[in-house]
Amino acid sequence: MGPSGCGKSTILNMIAGLVAPTGGVMRVDGQALTGIPPQVGYVFQKDTVLPWRTVLQNVTLGLEYRGVPRAERERRAREAIRLAGLDGFEDAFPATLSGGMRQRVALIRTLVVEPEILLMDEPFGALDTHTKLRLQGQLLALWIGRRQTVVFVTHDLAEAITLADRVIVLTSRPGRIKHVHAVKLPRQRDVIRIRETDQYAREFSALWHVLGEEFAKGETAEEAGGTA
């Protein structure tokens, strides 16, 4: 988490091998990056579902690229579609789906190839609160089976606490790690009920203060930049 422009997405893009660091070396699993690391999956904020492919054809895409036989990839894709609650839409084209459904397709399309590291850049940022909560719940449900590393960029504090084991707060520009906060919530989480617990409230207020300082700084910096 961090104020806008602090470099959250840039960090993700560096882990993804899309952006080379200006100094130092980016290592994933101890290996210096050259291009896109194969063990990384990336879910963008923007809808990147291929519009000319049906839901099923979108979900099988990664398996197709990896040469998984057709029957096998369709079986796995249908299973994932069912888990994400999209059954019945296998043969629908994305143009007929809502934004939330398309983002779910993008999510399971990435999960079905079982990446060891999952990068998510504000994947639910463009969705309404209700859809967002549903997708958070589904992400947790899908994640709990494999428990791979997820690096999730968000500027929604509630979302960060709900999903994360660790929340890393960045400073406003230049982006530095300001604070690493371990979330002490049980791993089995209900995205709605967890918000009513005392522990959630404590986590929230602890992070709220840290974050508040940075957002305030970010704003003054932006104002100064604007008038300069």
Binding site: A16, L18, I36, P38, V40, G41, Y42, F44, K46, T48, L50, P51, W52, R53, T54, L61, G62, E64, Y65, R66, F93, P94, A95, T96, A106, R109, T110, V113
Partner: protein, 272 residues
Amino acid sequence: MTDRARVNAWRLAILILTFGLWEGLTHPAITKAVSRVVYFVDPFFISRPSAIWSRFWYLNSGAVRVPLWQLLVSTLESTLLGFVVGVGSGFVAGLVLGRNARLAAVLQPYIVAFNSLPRIALVPLVTMIFGFGLLAKVVLAWLIVFFIVFFNTFQGARGVDPDLVHAARFLGASEPQVMRTVIVPSALAWTFASLTPSVSFALIGVVIGEFIGGESGGGIGYLIIASLGNLNAADMMVALLVLGLTGIVLALGIHQLEARLLRWRPEHQARG
């Protein structure tokens, strides 16, 4: 559905009105008076629907050396060949240049120069090189179609959403896979937009070739030029009407193909 029926009724009304007026104004009893006002409203210039109709059957009969339908087959053959070759080569060239900015920059002045050359100006040269037959007509259609398809595909290939390409790479796509699953389908939408004008322009290229080609080239264009030589308005009108109908059929065919291949687009989704 009633809306559609109404549109069709209007279309039919316009057709009947046009041909009715045409037939009426060129009637022997009044054509003298009418042609004094507008000189070309005269069967000599524009013939009459009834005369065109009878010439149509005559030209299709065994009484003529090359029946009309054979001329049409010749024209269609050249048009479709030129169209297919033009679309294929234009598409490939558009993809290659659209994904290779350096090459596109190098070739740009030549492409602009060649494209601004009126294609008709090339007809004599093509005739010199390829003679008067099928090949020359195909080359003419190809020269026109190629550039239309090329420019559209080029735009489409260049404008592919880079995030879609990234997303595919993260799913493990190799470069050929990115090309096949992301860039080609994305560019195809643009290519398709160019197909309807392309098929019309292919027909233009072929007919011009047939004007020059004479009897050995054959085709509907030859019938038009021959009718000019004989000052035979009825035959010319037969040729023009047949060309017009051919154009409609070809455009409808393209539209069907487009609706099938681009059924993912919102405008082709079933409403309901």
